[in-house]
Amino acid sequence: MKNSLIILAFFSIGVLAGVFNFLPGFIVQNDYSMYALYALMFLVGISIGADKNSWKVIKQMNVKILLVPVGVVVGTLGGTALTGLILSDLSIKESMAVGAGFGYYSLSSIFITQIHGETLGVIALLSNILREIFTLLATPLLVVYFGKLAGIASGGATSMDTTMPVIVKYSGKEWGVIAIFSGVVLTIIVPFLVSFILEIL
């Protein structure tokens, strides 16, 4: 939660700086963000690879547990495809790409900005931050009506870190492993799925 606020603050300061034209021209004209993205993805890779959980995940793999992140992917893409179908000014592809962030707002918004432009990038940032905040607030209620996997479903990629405490608290400790498993798998596939949807589909 603290991190989302810091990130939103950086984003907002950037917006204000852009609107009021505080910046020297070279920053606006040159796009350094691609290089920063290269560095970021390399570092994210290292942190995933170095996290013992990521490799433990492979050992825990069985069909039943694997169905959890697969279900989140199917549900998210199905739900967002429907959203894209209903909203006239949003294509199905765009809607699905934003959904494929699974709550991993920092990476998905940057990624979508690079591939598809700033407008969809901002939608991805807001939509995926909202997914995390909604999960933090609604998990206690979701678990009552939709079963113990509901928090993991809503949390998406965030169920491995930011939303895990809430999920474990309201679903029970025994669901922690599945929450981490699902979160790790979804985190890793975000960049692959987003580029697949926007560039190949």
Binding site: G18, E118, L125, S195
Partner: protein, 98 residues
């Protein structure tokens, strides 16, 4: 984007070995935060100078909310079915099953 995906994959395998050096990991985590702050600051700037986005922030916000709703509703429903069919028999809550 292939370059980015390749870089990430290389990072994952490199990380497996670098994981033994805990201090290095802390540095990596810090650098990730800085990179994210920088990139979102830059995204903010390009949004700020883009009049079309600024003038349509209300529409953009509504789209974001709608997509979040679709994403959460879809995945909660699919995992609800999954829970009912495969998982609830594991725990004591299985009584309503049979």
């Amino acid at each position: 984007m292939v370059t980015v995906l390749v870089l990430m994959t290389i990072g994952i395998f490199l990380g497996r070995f670098l994981g033994r050096i805990p201090d290095l990991l802390k540095v990596v985590e810090k650098l990730i935060s800085y990179a994210i702050f920088l990139l979102l600051f830059l995204l903010g700037i390009s949004v700020g100078v883009n009049k079309t986005i600024i003038d349509n922030l209300d529409k953009i916000g509504m789209k974001a909310v709608s997509i979040t709703f679709g994403a959460v509703a879809g995945s909660v429903l699919v995992l609800w079915v999954l829970y009912k069919t495969l998982f609830s028999t594991d725990t004591k809550e299985g009584q309503d099953e049979k």
